[in-house]
């Protein structure tokens, strides 16, 4: 590449790192006559893509930190240059970790990093490339299943669309994509959900579980059926 073009890219890289510094960009190109307001459109657009993507991926996290702090967090995160993938949603991947690192210094509510991780996992499960078999030979755990653990009741909080603060209390959250509707399902792990997952992973039959636990076989079958209907586990036939 010729030095002139190299210099152009370098100056643009510097500009996009801090679109407020438009003077520096013009200083790098004496005699450049383009209108500043037109050039500024690009600074705004590039910033807008980061803002809009994070807002879309983390709506409840945004609500939890409040508008002013959200803006600061987005700016600070953008400075870490998160656009490493051609798929723009991927820029959200490091955001929960970033919030965890920043939580104490910025006095974020304690649940915020966990909530961001929940929202990111929701997206990851929704868009998982994990192949989900149309037919299975035996009871199978939904391959999109993700498990999160945190000291807040986030499932109820997310279902209520983030009113107030989530209640404290240890939670194991299960998130998976429904094989037919393709939406993200989530629940605080219940005994029946964990039983269904265990049966699928260990190849246990309802008869076997009934005789080992003394729970009526009909109850075990009913629990299993519900988990199959929700798509948490996949059953043959």
């Amino acid at each position: 590449m010729k030095p002139g073009l190299r210099g152009f890219f370098d100056s643009m890289e510097e500009y996009f790192a801090d679109p407020g510094q438009v003077d520096r960009l013009y200083a790098a190109h004496p005699g450049w006559e383009a209108s500043r307001s037109r050039v500024a459109i690009y600074g705004r657009l590039v910033r807008h893509h980061v803002n809009a993507t994070l807002e879309k991926l983390f709506p409840l996290t945004r609500g939890g930190v409040g508008e002013e702090r959200w803006e600061e967090l987005v700016r600070a995160y953008e400075a870490l240059r998160p656009g490493t993938s051609f798929e723009l949603n991927r820029m959200g991947e490091g955001f929960p970790g970033f919030l965890a690192d920043e939580a104490e210094r910025r006095g974020l509510p304690g649940y915020v990093p966990a909530l961001a991780r929940f929202e990111w996992t929701d997206f990851e499960v929704f868009s998982s490339m994990e192949p989900v078999p149309e037919r299975v030979e035996r009871l199978t755990v939904n391959p999109t299943l993700a498990v999160l653990e945190h000291p807040f009741r986030l499932c109820a909080y997310v279902r209520a669309k983030g009113k107030g603060e989530p209640a404290a209390g240890q939670e194991m959250a299960l998130l998976w994509r429904h094989p037919e509707t393709l939406v993200t399902m989530y629940m605080a792990a219940s005994d029946r959900a964990l039983l269904a997952v265990k049966m699928a992973m260990e190849g246990l039959t309802p008869e076997g579980v009934a005789s080992a636990t003394g729970v009526p076989e009909a109850d075990i079958r009913a629990a299993l059926e519900e988990c199959v209907k929700d798509g948490l586990v996949l059953a043959p036939g």
């Binding site: 010729k2 073009l5 152009f8 037109r38 998982s128 490339m129």
Partner: protein, 282 residues
């Protein structure tokens, strides 16, 4: 008069298409309305499973699917993204797209994607830089490739060429096709004060294999290429002007923001199809 690039590559005009946007994932594959082909933004399908894949599969069963990328970064300073290119090749093969396209712009600096179609300076240096990269893309993906004329709000520093000359030099030296975005021609002509028909006349029209039509947003001192409105009358007129010189060309309605309904987008595609039919009947 089919374009010579299309003829050399055995590409036939496909009629009028619309984009498979997220809002249409459930509806579009079921539509009973006329539709000749479908365009996808490959970035929405390369790494995202679930709904996009189901919609894509259903569309590919019914229509020709064309891939129109936004992240190729063919004008950018860094090396082409290997992972992106190999996934793109696999996708183009999977849907058996007769050709694929992206924009004559850059989208990545210092290894970081900026997710915007950023204009290059119109210079011989930039031509020299882009041409081998376009060739590399074609060698990798092994299908005919079109470059789109992007919209731009400011001429970049270091430019020495007319915009049409810049496009011509890149397309001719790389030997690729052109995706002529007629709305971009109109928007650029208004924003930079030139005559859109003269601009069209200066293009290598024999390389035009696809056309984009879209709406824009008129602000007091600039027109923004938003893809968020109906195609305006001036753009429809310019579209006719182009077709009179190229013959029938596969035409896409781009509507990406503030989409009122899928029917509204299909209405625009109907209108494009009618123009194509009218000119063909002459």
């Amino acid at each position: 008069m089919p374009s010579s690039y299309a003829r050399r590559h055995g590409l036939k005009p496909l009629g009028a298409g619309i984009g498979l946007r997220r809002e249409f994932y459930a509806q579009l594959p079921e539509t009973t309305r006329a539709l000749d082909w479908v365009e996808i933004i490959p970035e929405n399908f390369l790494t995202l499973g679930g709904r996009p894949q189901r919609a894509l599969e259903a569309c590919a069963e019914r229509w020709t699917v064309l891939s129109h990328g936004v992240a190729l970064n063919v004008g950018g300073p860094g090396p082409l993204d290997e992972d992106y290119l190999s996934r793109l090749k696999a996708l183009v093969e999977r849907v058996d797209a007769p050709f694929f396209s992206d924009h004559l712009c850059y989208t990545r600096l210092g290894g970081v994607y900026l997710y915007d179609l950023l204009p290059l300076p119109f210079s011989e240096e930039a031509v020299e830089h882009v041409v081998p990269r376009v060739r590399e893309v074609m060698d990798r993906v092994e299908r005919p490739f079109l470059l789109e004329n992007p919209s731009y709000y400011a001429r970049m520093p270091g430019g020495t060429l007319e915009e049409a000359t810049f496009l011509r030099h890149v397309a001719e030296q790389a030997d690729c096709g052109l995706l002529l975005d007629v709305n971009n021609v109109y928007v650029n002509s208004q924003n930079h004060g030139y005559e859109p028909r003269a601009f069209v006349d200066a293009l290598p029209l024999e390389r035009v294999v696809q056309i984009h039509l879209a709406g824009h947003e008129r602000q007091p001192d600039v027109i923004l290429d938003t893809h968020g409105a109906e195609v305006c009358d001036e753009v429809w007129e310019l579209y006719r002007y182009v077709l009179e010189r190229t013959g029938p060309v596969s035409t896409l309605i781009e509507w990406d923001q503030d989409i009122p309904s899928m029917d509204a987008v299909l209405d625009e595609a109907d209108r494009a199809r009618a123009v194509l039919a009218e000119l063909e009947a002459r």
